[in-house]
């Protein structure tokens, strides 16, 4: 998508430590990462992974301990405070708790960064009206933040962050305090900000759904390190790292847990297989074809298909009825186009190799046709 464009944000072996009771916390521990202009970049990780610290290095709210942070190819590490303020003014930021000024009206909040940037009063007023219109809060200009709902507050936060036409918008857990429906609205707004205004958006979250719905690329963080990054679909369709697998597992519980599998075997004592559904495998079509062509019956007993980065993703678990040779032929046939995991029968069960973790390593690695047993 943005192949040739130079990175708008670039981390080079960036380290950030904080003093802690025992020694130092390496909140960001040697991150090297590029964020390209025009993309929506996700950073996902559990609490304490270092996401907020990483994003606060982008607008220099924290100085790096070692390594570098480059904005538009320019190293901002070690710049004096006055120049850092200019860097910050060109980067918008929104927060989980919105961080609106309670003493100012909605319009006053949106006008604040304009005042900081020294805009004259009349231009400020016009810009505030324009921004409130963009986020759909034109009628709330004179209200105070305490009179708004969470979703409205975040819209004000977004309007405020966009006021001075930044090229980058940082969103630190911007939807984590919102209910699912409002979350969707705010994520839609972030997508509009990206698509209509061309602003690069960096989304920090611990929720897989947010990344799945919003981001082009993603970095998975754990213990201050980026353990995996890349295109959202490839990272989540073929997760390499346990942390990534756990996140994928939270987004779609398409595969039966060990307990659910036990219950399945009671109800369905026959051969059970799990078929991966991926965009590149055209798996539902192949599944239908294989069921038609082989002398067996298949019943879907578990599963789920969702979208990641607007592409199909999930799995279906089936009970197969027929003679063993036919079933084996069916599995071999289907394994040529997608991943099939044989779970055996109630009498001769085969374990899910990834039953300890919520997701399968071999299963998810996506080597097509390689791992049916």
């Amino acid at each position: 998508m943005t192949t040739a464009a130079p990175p708008i944000v670039s981390f080079r072996d960036t380290v950030k430590t904080f003093p802690a009771t025992a020694g130092l916390v390496r909140a960001v521990d040697g991150v090297t990462l590029d964020i390209h202009a025009g993309e929506i970049f996700g950073v996902i990780g559990y609490s304490g992974a270092g996401k907020s610290t990483l994003v606060r290095l982008i607008n220099a709210l924290e100085p790096v301990t070692s390594g570098a942070v480059l904005i538009d190819g320019k190293d901002i590490t070690g710049l004096p405070e006055s120049e850092l303020r200019r860097v910050r003014a060109g980067i918008g930021m929104i927060f989980q708790q919105f961080n609106l000024l309670a003493s100012r009206t909605v319009a006053g909040n949106v006008a604040y960064p304009l005042a900081v940037a020294g805009w004259p009063r009349d231009r400020r007023r016009a810009r505030v009206a324009e921004l409130l219109d963009f986020v759909g809060l034109a009628d709330k200009a004179r209200q105070f933040p305490s009179q708004l709902s969470g979703g409205q507050k975040q819209r004000v936060g977004i309007a405020r962050a966009l006021a001075t036409n930044p090229r980058i918008l940082l969103a630190d857990e911007a939807t984590s305090a919102l209910d699912p429906e409002t979350t969707q609205d705010v994520l839609d707004l972030l997508r509009r900000v990206n698509a209509e205004l061309g602003i690069t958006v960096v989304v920090i979250t611990h929720e897989m759904d947010v990344v799945k719905y919003t981001c082009d690329r993603v970095a998975v963080m754990e213990d201050g390190k980026v353990v995996e990054h890349g295109d959202v679909y490839s990272v989540f369709a073929r997760p390499q790292h346990p942390a990534t697998r756990r996140f994928v597992g939270t987004a779609l519980r398409d595969r039966p847990s060990p307990a659910a599998l036990e219950r399945l075997r009671h109800r369905h004592p026959g051969r059970i297989v799990t078929v991966a559904i991926r965009e590149d495998g055209a798996a539902t079509v192949d599944l239908t074809r294989a069921l038609r062509e082989h002398p067996i019956d298949g019943t879907v007993v578990y599963g789920g298909i969702t979208e990641i980065a607007e592409r199909p993703y999930g799995s279906l678990t089936l009970e197969l009825a027929g003679d063993d040779a036919a079933i084996t032929a069916f599995i071999e046939d289907l394994s040529r186009s997608t991943t099939v995991l044989d779970l055996g029968t109630a009498a001769a069960p085969l374990a899910d190799p990834d039953a300890v973790g919520p997701r399968a390593s071999a299963f998810s690695s996506g080597d097509q046709g390689g791992d049916a047993r």
Partner: protein
């Protein structure tokens, strides 16, 4: 109280005492409002983790405030006598009483200011920093306005404390309502005079409290 009180003689004295109290209280408060606010902000911003974090400065200010605040005011008046002499030029009289009141009130107010700022959500400061606001701008355009409601209540509390201090001004010839009550009431066993002086003080305090409540509520109604 059974004695006939000569209000013809006392009334002008009461009026004068009231004027002295007003003068002492308002000048001390003016000073404490400015200096105490500055000191309180200094305590807040030099705290660990805040944007002018400076352990040495914070420790000095903190110890100073902790050292001064518990000193009983009656003793403090005499303790700062030399400083009063240096600044005011005398150690007796209303002006001489104002100086220790202003100092003590500043220290008291600084702690109240600091506490109210500590209670603020650090997120709003972070947001302002993220917008490129300078630290000085954050002080006057974020910290003070965001804490204004509680700061008004804290100042109201301070006014009442300073009125209380002013009652001890008589000790250095500062006059005022407290002095009037002691001299013309208490020392002459005239409870009527004492009561009148007390009522005047109570009314002052009430008026200040009501005003403070109204103002802070107006600021907080958002």
């Amino acid at each position: 109280m059974n004695r006939d009180t000569d209000w013809g003689y006392l009334a002008p004295l009461l009026g004068k005492a009231f004027g002295e109290t007003l003068q002492m209280v308002s000048v001390a408060l003016l000073f404490a409002g400015v200096f105490g606010l500055a000191l309180g902000i200094a305590l807040y911003v030099t705290r660990r983790g805040n944007f002018f974090a400076n352990r040495a400065v914070f420790t000095v200010l903190n110890v100073l405030v902790n050292f001064v605040r518990p000193i009983p005011f009656v003793i403090f008046i005499f303790a700062v006598g030399p400083a009063t002499m240096a600044v005011v030029g005398k150690t007796i009289g209303t002006e001489a009483a104002i100086f220790p009141m202003a100092i003590m009130a500043s220290f008291a107010f600084s702690r109240l200011v600091e506490q109210n700022l500590v209670g603020l959500d650090p997120g709003v400061v972070e947001a302002a920093r993220a917008m490129g606001a300078s630290r000085w701008r954050i002080i006057w355009s974020v910290l003070i306005p965001e804490a204004l409601g509680p700061l008004i209540l804290a100042f109201t509390f301070l006014v009442i404390g300073v009125i209380d201090m002013s009652a001890m001004a008589g000790i250095v010839g500062g006059g005022g309502l407290g002095d009037f009550a002691i001299r013309h009431g208490y020392q002459r066993f005239n409870w009527e005079v004492t009561a009148v002086a007390v009522v005047v003080i109570v009314i002052m305090v009430q008026a200040v409290q009501v005003l403070g409540n109204v103002l802070s509520r107006r600021v907080l109604r958002r």
